[in-house]
């Protein structure tokens, strides 16, 4: 074969190759088909395990694409050369190779795979067998992830990895606003809480991937696993491996699915115009304003028969539509002659459930690996992503709140096609989103992203490999925003209402790019001596990043048709642009030792230097120690047959964080111009203090865990307890305000997170045809701000030592004032109330409500989160379900939708139960105009705090794999059709919208979506 290949190469290169004696067999991957032919025969056989027939076993002729599966009786037949080798694999069993050796009938016995134990886990700078792990690492396979259908793979991690908290903040296509937190929020610094994401060995982007291209995801939770990432591992590490081909044959896989999406829930608002008008007038009166509507106007709507002229318009019905998402995915994978390849091509077309939102994502993933020589392996992984996003220019929240801020008295567009601003000119409101979308006033963003690496591994000696990896990523982002002039009208008399509110008419364009390069070189040593086995790693890495941006704008275009900078007038044009860069250099290593595969020890170290810190303090040393004890290997447990493996492990280590600003230690001059004498005069001032001893933020983690597999590997349990302390937090000093300076960045403060994580899985067979699995993940942690300095109150949150970081700090809402008499007898409220207003509790009992009556309110973080995974396989059917729950967190929300008549916004129907003199409830105040109604809006109070605990069926999927006898007739290896439902139902007390959201703030956010997906996956 080698010679054959060499013959394919032009003579000059052959000469060169021969002279170097350098085997260029890497090129062999281009040759997908072998011309190699040998004597064929039909081989029949039966596959069993413990004398029971096993169905669905894949048998593949090694080095070819020829393959088959066993039937229900465990039987198979395959055309194969008499000297061929069959690769036999089945889930739950150890793979094996069987030599045909001229036989025409084979009997193959499968061994149950010690699956959990021999599983290879991707860890920092390498892999490790699961049984040897001494650190807290959990893994999920791509297969498991892709049971759910999503376009952003980040969202798929939810509930899959105990210790990882995934909150999808929004249902907006291409902007899901996913927050990943490993073991809680551990710092208040700008350095952030985002974990490091490693793709194929190098820092990269998870969101840019197509979910189908993921082979596995590992979560490195403790210091022992993450310390090798030193400076960047403090918030944990997510390690992603993308697919590479497998040796033996070729397979083509095509998947298509169609998702039908709707918002999971929407607030129920008053859409009856007359009712809206009466409520509005009542709210006006309560808020000390004049009524907006006359009785005659109310009567018009009340008694109208012409519902075109006097509609009860449902604006949310205009804003939300059913969205059809299409996912195509094609993969070509295979390998032969020491070369494997995988090519995945994905295309997603995902329109929003909110009008005006569109997202298209194109992905390419290429993985190649070639063993060019007995000792040399070359490889590459490249991912390309092109995203094209359109959205109403001010985004989802604005679209939602603007639409709520319409009255039901008019439609967005008149029957003759004119856009409507309001029914009457004295109504308040916000922009007409159907008009914004209809006139295409949308921001356009295009994102070109590529990440990739080239690896070269050389086996220098037996057991010693030299591994090199160079790669990086490049991101180019284009943004444009054109704001035309669109005339609007009042519906009552169709008079002119000025232009559509698109902000300042004109055009903005932005370009930004980010280039990141990284390179590492390491020596990896593995050796076993009798009962001792040792592995060690030592390497050097460096990273460099440069980001730049340019932007320009022009105003007041003379036409709505030309949408480029050059088409606009020059007066008032602006531009801006800059660039930043940073670099890190690192030395790292680890050492693992075990004795008899029973006593395991590990240690890792990393020495990092960063450009973000001053020269004298920029180098930080991070290290960890860990140990494991496989008790099940001890003699005293030898006879306990139900335990397959039991391991206790513990780890301790230190990690760093430096991701604060780009130049936090360099004092610079601020540009401070002033308009003197008709000219802009340049000016500077220096208001920055810097701390020359600035150094690393450090996180120290103690982790104690246990892993158990039992009952013939059917049950597996993983448990971890952790105590994670982040200290020397990088933050701005609390300097006195009279100093008049920008506070320097310093190392100060600490945050502790303590918690537990538990994962339990059980797989079993009920009958031969019916198997099931059940899994549960549970995580809980407690957050404490241990050292902060002076307490700080920010809006509704407080940072105070001994309390959770950013705990709610609120006035306590204590019912409703029922009468003036009650007001007079109650503690004096700082904002003079009237009957029907909120009653604020006098917490300290001093007879008046002051700042001192604000108090700590729990609920900033969930008490615990849990996931249940259930699955059932019956014959060719598979059914799986995932439930996800989060308990104990609260969310502080206000504004449109949560409060009535904010900018005239439609009140929710629960305001029908508002306080009135005749309905003396204590649950709701009287209705008000939420445009600064002080007796309600003047307090950060628990009135605005909502219970956001929830339990939801995140996913339900039913699949059917067509019988092999059918598919093989169509030359298919397999075909599966499936139906999946995402966000099937939710149990929660949260009012109106979905409780799963990004945190406090405006009530309205892009709603989560419920999706029903139909799909098929075909393998050739």
């Amino acid at each position: 074969m080698k010679n054959y290949l060499l013959r394919m190469i032009p003579p000059g290169i052959t000469m060169y190759v021969k002279r170097l004696r350098f085997p260029f067999a890497v090129m062999s991957f281009f040759i997908l088909a072998s011309l190699h032919v040998s004597a064929q025969q039909t081989v029949r056989g039966r596959v069993t395990s413990a004398d029971t027939a096993v169905s669905g076993v894949t048998l593949q002729l090694k080095g070819t694409a020829v393959g088959t599966q066993t039937n229900a009786k465990g039987e198979f037949s395959i055309n194969a050369p008499s000297n061929g080798t069959l690769l036999v694999s089945a889930i739950g069993f150890a793979s094996q190779e069987v030599q045909i050796g001229g036989q025409s009938s084979l009997s193959i016995a499968l061994q149950t795979a010690d699956q959990q134990l021999n599983q290879i886990v991707v860890v920092g700078y390498g892999t490790q067998s699961k049984r040897k792990l001494t650190s807290a690492v959990v893994t999920v396979s791509g297969e498991e992830l892709n049971k759910r259908i999503a376009t952003n793979p980040t969202t798929l991690l939810q509930g899959q990895l105990p210790g990882l908290q995934v909150v999808q903040g929004s249902g907006e296509p291409g902007a899901e606003n996913v927050s990943l937190r490993i073991r809680g929020v551990s710092t208040f610094s700008g350095a952030g809480n985002d974990p490091l994401v490693i793709v194929d060995g190098l820092p990269g982007s998870l969101a840019a991937l197509n979910p189908n291209d993921i082979e596995s995801v590992s979560l490195l939770k403790d210091a022992a696993s993450a310390a090798i990432y030193g400076s960047r591992g403090a918030n944990g590490v997510i390690v992603i491996k993308t697919k590479r081909g497998k040796n033996g044959g070729f397979s083509l896989n095509y998947t298509f699915n169609l998702g039908i999406s709707n918002p999971t829930s929407l607030p129920d608002v008053v859409t009856n115009s007359a009712e809206y008008m009466r409520l509005s007038n009542e709210a006006s009166a309560n808020s000390g304003r004049q009524p907006i509507y006359t009785q005659a106007q109310i009567d018009l709507y009340d008694n109208a028969t012409d519902r075109v002229k006097y509609p009860n318009h449902d604006w949310l019905g205009d804003l939300f539509v059913t969205a059809y998402t299409k996912n195509h995915y094609l993969s070509l994978t295979g390998g032969k002659e020491n070369t494997t390849y995988n090519l995945g091509i994905g295309y997603t077309d995902q329109p929003g459930t909110m009008i005006g939102f569109e997202y298209k994502k194109y992905t390419v993933n290429l993985g190649l690996s070639s063993k060019v020589n007995k000792r040399v392996t070359l490889g590459t992984n490249i991912q390309l992503n092109y995203g094209n996003k359109l959205n109403p220019r001010q985004g989802a929240d604005d679209s939602f709140l603007s639409t709520l801020a319409q009255s039901p008295l008019y439609p967005p567009r008149s029957p003759d096609g004119r856009w409507i601003k309001r029914a009457y000119s004295n109504e308040s409101g916000n922009k007409n989103i159907p008009a914004i979308v209809g006139e295409n006033v949308r921001a356009r963003s295009e994102d070109f992203y590529v990440q990739g690496n080239i690896s070269l591994d050389v086996e220098v000696l037996n057991g010693l490999t030299w591994e090199n990896r160079a790669g990086g990523n490049f991101d180019a982002f284009k943004f444009s925003d054109f704001r035309p002039v669109v005339p609007m009208f009042y519906y009552n008399d169709m008079s002119s209402a000025g232009p559509l509110d698109v902000g300042n008419p004109g055009f903005d364009a932005r370009r930004s790019d980010n280039a990141y390069g990284v390179y590492y070189s390491q020596l990896n040593f593995k050796r076993s001596f009798n009962e001792h086995s040792v592995s060690a790693l030592a390497g050097y890495q460096q990273e460099y990043n440069k980001a730049s941006n340019l932007a320009g704008s022009r105003l007041q275009y003379t036409t709505n048709y030309l949408k480029e900078l050059d088409a606009g007038p020059k007066p008032g044009m602006t531009n801006s642009g800059t660039s930043t860069e940073w670099a890190i250099r690192s030395f790292y290593g680890n050492l693992n030792y075990d004795y008899q595969d029973k006593y395991l020890f590990g240690s890792s170290v990393r020495y990092d230097g960063t450009s973000r810190l001053p020269e004298d303090t920029r180098w930080g040393l991070f290290y960890s120690f860990s140990a494991g004890w496989r008790i099940s290997k001890e003699l005293f447990l030898k006879d306990v047959s139900w335990i397959n493996d039991l391991k206790l492990r513990g780890s301790w280590g230190k990690l760093g964080n430096q991701n604060i600003g780009i130049y936090p230690y360099q004092a610079t001059l601020s540009i401070r111009d002033y308009a003197f004498d008709g000219k802009v005069q340049p000016g500077y001032s220096s208001g920055m203090i810097v701390e020359p001893t600035l150094t690393w933020e450090t996180t120290q983690v103690l982790d104690i865990g246990a892993d158990l597999t039992a009952f013939n590997n059917k049950l597996s349990v993983t448990f971890d307890w952790f105590n994670k302390n982040t200290f020397d937090i990088l933050r701005q000093a609390q300097i006195p305000l009279w100093l008049g300076m920008e506070a320097p960045f310093i190392n100060n403060g600490s945050v502790r997170n303590k918690g537990v994580e538990l994962g339990v899985q059980y797989r079993g067979n009920i009958t031969r045809d019916l198997s099931f699995f059940a899994g549960a993940n549970f995580q809980a942690y407690k957050n404490t701000l241990e050292k902060y300095g002076k307490r700080e109150i920010n809006g509704n949150l407080i940072r105070e030592e001994g309390k959770p970081l950013d705990e709610y700090y609120l006035y306590i809402w204590d019912g409703i004032f029922q009468s003036q008499d009650e007001i007079d007898k109650s503690p004096k409220q700082p904002i003079t109330p009237s009957p029907g207003d909120l009653k604020i509790k006098d917490v300290n009992g001093d007879g008046k409500i002051t700042d001192a009556d604000r108090t700590y309110v729990q609920g900033k973080y969930p008490s615990f989160q849990y996931t249940l995974n259930l699955g059932l396989n019956w014959k060719n059917f598979d059914l799986s379900a995932m439930l996800y729950g989060s308990q104990g967190q609260k969310i502080y929300v206000n504004g449109w939708g949560a409060e009535p008549f904010r900018q005239g916004s439609m009140p929710t129907t629960d305001w029908r139960n508002r306080w009135t003199p005749t309905n003396p409830t204590n649950k709701m105040p009287k209705i008000y105009m939420a445009d600064g109604y002080a007796p309600v809006q003047g307090y950060p109070s628990t009135y605005f705090l909502k219970d956001a605990s929830f339990l939801r069926m995140k996913n339900l999927q039913l699949g059917y794999t067509l019988p092999a006898r059918l598919t093989s007739k169509a030359a298919m290896k397999s075909m599966r059709v499936y139906f999946a439902a995402d966000n099937v139902f939710t149990i929660s007390d949260y009012p109106g919208l979905d409780p799963e959201r990004g945190g406090d703030g405006l009530y309205v956010t892009y709603p989560q979506i419920r999706t029903f997906t139909f799909g098929a996956s075909v393998q050739f």
């Binding site: 907006i292 460096q542 007041q556 890190i584 000016g683 006195p736 305000l737």
Partner: protein
């Protein structure tokens, strides 16, 4: 094999070396390091310009700065801000607390930032310039330092006095406050140096001149009730003949007319297209969004036929003929429409004439007037009246303001008592300076803020909504952040 390995080593080694060239010393590409400053003469100009830039600092709600003078009127019985620009609405409903971030903390912080920059300037500028130039430049810095301390003194009263170059101060140190009297004395010292060093010319370029510093000193003296001194200094300014009432009252409030108005003594300068109002051009929040609306109480204050009433406000039924800027369906001014809350009045002051349908994209760059000559004349009248009574000079100054071309209000009746004259002066200030941010400070200075403001019904159509003002607001609360960071040296003002 060995050869292969070695050549690979070499190849990789080269790659390693190339990549290793990037070192860890990277610096900002768009900002100069601080260390290169104070090396050449030009640095003095850059730094002086930098001091004025602090006049742009935002800090009230919606990017309003404390120099958005009209916002201060929403703290009073003159105006109401439905959108809470500058914080007047929330201060008037929820009250002032040490934890209020906008205005209470941000104005304090902004003033001290400007003071720190001035202190740094004063400590370093002699490294690069000398002689008369040094004296003049330092005089400007002293004026700006005093200007900022005067804001602090008026609002918070008792504050720390910081004079040192901030780079020489340990950022972990703490400090107590000085009394309002001490702060005011310190301000007068700075102003005296400024007066001695500033050029005795009219205010044209945006740089403070002698008259500016003198004018602020008059304000300080009046605040301290040093009436005789205040009157004497005001008279100096008047006699110096560098400033004159503008024959066109409204020309003080829009461009380009402001550029040639000899009445303006100090202002925050803006310049299209590059130096624009913070957030959005003033016409959007003020005229389009009706963010600063006049009260009926203020309208009632105007004398019959006082033209300043219609110069300052629009009234229902106004059209283009009265300067109403909106067209189409909005071409007739109608309460209840387009954000106009019934019971209030829409501003006309600050609106450039001829502008149609002002909105966010409208290009305007009004300078925000912080002091004009009419104020000096009325401060003279007030000080002189308090010091010696309603003598002829008091009449002369107040009548000249009333008799300004275009305003043409009749002279005050002769024979007014001191108390009667005091009322006339207070009336005159209210109508002359409506939407110019003086009333809040006038009411506090006169000691009648609680009486006038607490319980004030801003909109007669909503009698249950009352303004809140307490005696303790005479001294705003020192921001809680500052108290916390200076414990135990710094004590909160009384009753917070």
């Amino acid at each position: 094999m060995r050869k292969i390995i070695s050549s690979l080593y070499i190849a990789a080694g080269c790659l390693f070396m190339l990549a290793a060239c990037k070192d860890l010393n990277v610096s900002p590409t768009d900002k100069l390091p601080r260390t290169i400053f104070w090396k050449s003469e030009g640095d003095a100009d850059f730094a002086l310009t930098g001091l004025y830039n602090f006049l742009y600092m935002p800090g009230g709600n919606w990017s309003c700065s404390q120099y958005y003078v009209f916002a201060w009127d929403t703290y009073t019985d003159d105006a109401y801000s439905q959108h809470d620009y500058g914080g007047g609405r929330s201060a008037g409903s929820s009250g002032l607390t040490p934890n209020t971030k906008a205005y209470v903390e941000s104005y304090y912080t902004n003033n001290y930032k400007a003071i720190a920059a001035a202190n740094h300037f004063l400590a370093n500028v002699d490294k690069v310039i000398s002689g008369d130039k040094l004296k003049r430049y330092k005089a400007e810095a002293y004026f700006l330092r005093a200007f900022n301390y005067f804001w602090l003194a008026q609002l918070y009263g008792n504050v720390p006095i910081v004079k040192a170059d901030p780079y020489t101060v340990d950022y972990t140190s703490i400090m107590g406050k000085s009394t309002r009297e001490e702060v005011l004395a310190f301000i007068r010292e700075d102003l005296d140096i400024a007066i001695a060093g500033l050029p005795d010319v009219g205010y044209t370029t945006g740089h403070a001149v002698k008259g500016t510093a003198q004018g602020y000193k008059v304000r300080v003296l009046l605040f301290e009730k040093k009436y005789a001194e205040a009157a004497a200094l005001a008279k100096q300014i008047i006699d110096d003949n560098k400033f004159f009432l503008n024959d066109n009252y409204l020309a003080n409030f829009y461009k380009p007319a402001q550029n040639s108005s000899k009445e303006i003594m100090f202002s925050v300068k803006y310049l299209l297209p590059n130096i624009t109002h913070q957030d959005v051009p003033l016409v959007a929040p003020m005229h389009r969004w009706k963010g600063y609306m006049g009260t009926q109480d203020l309208i009632n204050e105007y004398e019959v036929n006082d033209p300043r009433k219609t110069m300052t406000w629009f009234f229902p039924g106004d059209t283009k003929a009265q300067g109403w800027p909106f067209t189409g369906d909005l071409s007739v001014a109608t309460p209840g429409m387009d954000g106009w809350i019934q019971g209030y009045y829409t501003p006309r002051k600050w609106l450039p004439p001829g502008l149609e349908d002002p909105t966010t994209g409208t290009l305007v760059d009004n300078d925000f007037v912080l002091m004009r000559f009419a104020d000096i004349k009325l401060m003279y009248a007030e000080a002189q009246n308090e010091a010696v009574g309603a003598d002829a000079s008091v009449y002369k100054q107040i009548n000249e303001v009333r008799a300004r071309t275009g305003v043409n209000m009749p002279e005050l009746p002769a024979g007014l008592s001191k108390d009667q004259m005091r009322e006339k002066i207070r009336h005159e200030r209210r109508v002359e300076f409506a939407l110019e941010g003086l009333r809040y400070f006038d009411l506090r200075r006169w000691g009648i803020a609680t009486q006038k403001l607490n319980g004030f019904v801003s909109n007669p159509l909503a009698p249950n909504i009352k303004l809140k003002y307490e005696d303790k607001y005479q001294y705003w609360p020192i921001p809680q952040t500052e108290i916390d960071r200076n414990t135990p040296a710094l004590k909160q003002n009384p009753d917070y």
